[in-house]
Symmetry: C2
Subunit: 350 residues, 2 copies
């Protein structure tokens, strides 16, 4: 009986036996050896050195890192790109809400299949599933129907920030009331006496583009103003397309006296076109932007713009995701934030 017991002790608990040997050789307790192995701070320097020396002498293989008490839970944040202050605000909002929920954030770029930057490729999905995330926040990216089904089958909750088209039933989303934002911006220009008001909006067919055109048209109609078709232009939300569209508008006769440009980056491009044409903002042209990114305050003159609270939207998206992960009751899977008009120095009365 005795030999079998010995064999059992060294077999089942060989690590503990070795720790005990180390402790004995160093003249310390087993917990002290454990602390040294786990890199804890509450061990005296002399004791630590003695234990380290004994560990070396015994060629003890230490674990690579301290044991994980509770496995960390990750959520995925996937965006169409990470450069610039738009994704920065989203990342910042998601990270801070995740921190409060004790979740870790894995951030990645949705690398597109072919030329369509807004649709996720299959590789992205496999990587996300591999990561073992508890859920996904998507910023400005679209799921194909196949991918949505795949996420659902993998039981991975998903929240979209600013869906580009109406999300399919069952997919949660957080957006801003862009219709109301566009209405307010247009009404502001009308109140200042502008009548010939141009619009530079996003790519045709996107949800936000439709909402912005509708808001602009509604405000014009409410004031009894007609919209000349040549005054509505489509950009792609970036600076260079804004510059290009404003250059086009400046070629019209008569020129508009005000332009509502539906992203701050496009408005900054518009400033360039106006400067090139030696026109002063707001003296020669009133400009209203959309987003209220930090750069809207930095350009000169500071840009009047429609604020959408991106960081708060990102926080809310993460909080909604947490409720979906925990299978808590959710009042609504489609949250919409109010926009607000921030009047700075790029607009004035005709």
């Amino acid at each position: 009986v005795a030999p079998r017991q010995t064999s059992k002790a060294t077999g089942a608990a060989s690590t503990r036996a070795t720790l005990a040997q180390i402790a004995r050789a160093a003249g310390v307790s087993i917990p002290t050896v454990s602390k040294v192995l786990n890199g804890r701070d509450d061990v005296g320097e002399t004791t630590r050195e003695r234990v380290e020396a004994v560990l070396r002498d015994h060629q003890y293989i230490r674990r690579n890192r301290p044991r994980i008490v509770k496995p960390p839970r990750f959520v995925d944040l996937v965006m169409d790109g990470l450069d610039g202050s738009w994704p920065a605000s989203v990342t910042s909002g998601v990270e801070s809400a995740a921190y409060e929920a004790d979740l870790h954030v894995a951030v990645s770029v949705a690398r597109a299949a072919g030329s369509n930057r807004l649709h996720l490729d299959q590789d992205w999905l496999e990587r996300t599933l591999d990561r073992g995330s508890a859920g996904v926040v998507l910023g400005l990216v679209e799921l194909t129907e196949q991918q949505r089904i795949r996420l659902e089958r993998a039981r991975l909750p998903c929240v979209m920030i600013h869906p580009l088209s109406n999300p399919p039933p069952g997919v949660a989303s957080v957006g801003a009331n862009t219709w109301a934002g566009a209405y307010d911006a247009t009404e502001h220009l009308i109140t200042l006496g502008h009548r010939r008001i141009a619009l530079v909006t996003g790519p045709r067919g996107q949800l936000s583009e439709q909402a912005r055109i509708a808001g602009y048209r509604s405000a014009m109609a409410a004031a009894g103003l007609d919209v000349a078709p040549e005054l509505v232009r489509h950009g792609s939300y970036d600076r260079s397309s804004g510059k290009q569209q404003v250059e086009h508008l400046l070629g019209l006769s008569p020129q508009p006296t005000a332009i509502f440009i539906c992203s701050d980056h496009m408005a900054i491009g518009g400033y360039e076109a106006l400067a090139d044409a030696r026109l002063k903002v707001p003296r020669d042209m009133s400009v209203v932007g959309f987003d209220d990114l930090p750069e809207a305050r930095w350009v000169y003159p500071a840009l009047t713009t429609v604020r959408q609270p991106l960081k708060e939207m990102a926080k809310a998206a993460l909080q909604l995701l947490v409720r979906l992960i925990n299978q808590d009751e959710v009042d609504s899977t489609r949250l919409e934030f109010a926009t607000s008009l921030i009047v700075r120095h790029s607009t004035r009365a005709v």
Copy 2:
């Protein structure tokens, strides 16, 4: 013998047995059941529905997500904040290099102990260790000596981007040659005929602040120009401090004719101070910035600035980290990128 074999089969491979039952009941192969369970796309819709129905009938508990073939490896990116285009460039560079190395990126903010935003608190370190990362990239944050030892004991390689002070021996870092950048910027202004050139740099005592002052002084000395002490001011790299320091410089008599402002954000604040004083850039004052963030191109007039290739630096930091993780040979654990002067429209000859 026969009963023991049966018992072994149902004991050791109960899942497989159940899969076989499902397959038999649905009239499909076991791999097909497997595909349905793992949410794969290559199963016909009718077959899938039949298998799903049998799974429901048998109350088969499916795994929450497909089995992980290879456990994902994470690296940590920790910064002092995530808002704005500086952290965005770093995140973008780290993510793209990590993608190429098949690593996932966990991003987090170093929440500071007390009021010192630049030192990491203990909680950060515990969360990072919990995450089980393979390594850490730190952006604009400092480690205490205790934290550095803790990381080393946990065998967690670490690379600092833009260390604020000289990193301790053994800690890898990626920086830019800020001395040369400051020299080039100052020399550019001297070449344009400026003599009374002011400097707005960072907080006293930081490594980059020292390098910038030294570069400025060297260029001034090489041209035989004295530096009046009142022309050197310290900001905190943000917009409002830039505005404040330029306002101070405008109170001097005689005023400087050019200001080298050591961050684009401070330079944007400087533009505001100059506009408030009804001074035109570059007619009344030449301005050079530092960083070359996207906004340097957007301000009007576009800012002449010292470019440090942040995104490339972030990529290099991740690539260096990968070598440290893999215990590959590393030529140098301190990489320094060249800066370059980008001349735009904010400087002109006196």
